[in-house]
Symmetry: C2
Subunit: 305 residues, 2 copies
């Protein structure tokens, strides 16, 4: 058992967050300075409880969230941990609606895309943790929302949480034709979690002055070499459209605003969520593979203790 | 000879503007509602002189600029014509520094990319009408400027007008390696006139929070089907970077500001320009083919009369 030093706390992990970006960290060694090398601790968000604290900000028994990686116990500097009040919302939401996926949906949709009432918003990976929140926030902002997902069950889930329409890309041969049917007046905002041919079709259906937020490219993470696709920059000119990649950390000075707003929406029932929980840290590898294959709806978690 | 109606003027063309976007208008019939069909007048900017006017805004002998197409005489509504004072700057600048290319460089660089002093700005198609202005405006804004062009003569021209460095992509096998050498600290702003593999390399070398203005894609205009390239949206995420297409018309309420500022820079010698003039409207087709093949430096014009 590690011992916390001054300003540090010892945390017992209760839940691990399983997120698509982890796949990018598991690239071939040497691929990125931030990659997870064989033998090292897999990175990732954790919700847990304080066992011992050497910092006045945290007391034994407090619940916290932080980037502690895949381990049952971890020592961390108290200032890198976010204290969670599980009376306000279940602890797991600290890894979901009131965590990084919530921040990604909030800032990616509202700040990068600036959706206006009546606009059409398309979301890929729509039944995932981020996508399902993006669609619901777009509804709160009085947009029409279309979701793309990979199973009929996910499509049903999306319409059940308020998406106007959704389709299963695995059973639709012509994405662009499908989008033309679902959004005959085009797409104003595209929130991309997926990339690849789905994104090509979305770009082809963008409206004038459309905005695209690039949050994830899960269809591309497994390839060592970039895959090839049609060049579409010429379409951005004709449509005067914008495509922007983002990371939640660029909004770090506004996290409190987002947590407060997301918390209100959650409390008011304007945001609903679904979790998929796997038991035991030994099943974390299975959980990440399953998520990359699209088995889960909403957030994938691993219950550690 | 056509007769001007009420509110109209008859214009004698003096110069035709030859611009890359014309190629896009010459797509296969049915390809675009705005394409030039065989037998119709080729679209394009013209600088000319008023022969007869039925509008108080214009008098016989006035110089004007407007979208009159490839014809020696044209009737147009006076309100669609911009009156030019050739005492302030040569008439041809109404199709260049003080015309659409100037507006594209001004708004595309300053508004889309917002370059900051000390940043590195990369320009493709750098020796063309727009690119050569972009580089000079970036220098005025105290940026480091790198140009990409297609002949050694153009590279020499670019360094002569103040670009820190430039290279001939036809003699460089590895664009990305070349950019790494010229800009070891990466690229903050990329102004793209060209597209294709040059743009792939530029994207690979973008810095955090980089901005890309997509003004043209001249390498792609001749293909009926979109060509294929590596997918790079994942890089936009890691770099939190933005790619934006634009058309000058989106800034139409600020043209006066741009003309005034560009006129000042021109008068103060901060912007230099070079024209390539072909004689005779019958040589306009040759001029556009030559421009698409990269024969000209600066602005390609056709002298009609």
């Amino acid at each position: 058992m590690p011992k916390p030093g001054p300003g540090e706390a010892l945390i017992r992990a209760l839940y691990l967050s399983i997120d698509p970006y982890l796949r990018g960290r598991m690239a071939a060694p040497g691929g990125s300075s931030k990659s997870v090398e064989p033998g090292s601790i897999v990175v990732g968000g954790v919700a847990g409880q304080v066992i011992e604290s050497n910092d006045p900000r945290l007391a034994q028994g407090d619940y916290v969230e932080g980037q502690l990686g895949w381990q049952e116990y971890a020592v961390a500097s108290a200032k890198t941990l976010r204290k969670i009040d599980p009376k306000l919302a279940p602890l797991t939401t600290a890894l979901y609606v009131l965590g990084v996926p919530g921040l990604a949906a909030y800032f990616g949709l509202l700040d990068i895309c600036r959706p206006q009432p009546g606009e059409t918003v398309l979301v890929s990976g729509a039944a995932g943790a981020v996508g399902s929140l993006v669609g619901q926030i777009a509804k709160i902002k009085r947009c029409r929302v279309i979701g793309i997902a990979g199973t009929d069950e996910k499509v049903e889930y999306l319409t059940s949480i308020g998406f106007e329409s959704a389709f299963n890309y695995k059973t639709v041969p012509d994405y662009e034709g499908k989008l033309r049917g679902l959004a005959p007046n085009g797409i104003d905002v595209y929130f991309d979690n997926v990339g690849g041919p789905i994104t090509d079709a979305a770009i082809a259906r963008l409206n004038q002055r459309a905005r695209v937020a690039v949050c994830g490219q899960i269809s591309q993470y497994a390839s060592e070499e970039p895959s090839m696709g049609p060049r579409w920059l010429g379409q951005l000119i004709l449509k005067q459209a914008r495509v922007e990649g983002f990371l939640v950390r660029q909004f770090s000075d506004r996290f409190e605003e987002a947590y407060r707003q997301l918390g209100n929406w959650l409390r008011d029932g304007k945001i609903r969520y679904r979790e998929s929980v796997v038991d035991g840290i030994e099943n974390a590898p299975k959980a990440i593979v399953g998520m990359l294959e699209g088995h889960n709806i909403g957030k994938q978690l691993v219950k550690v203790a």
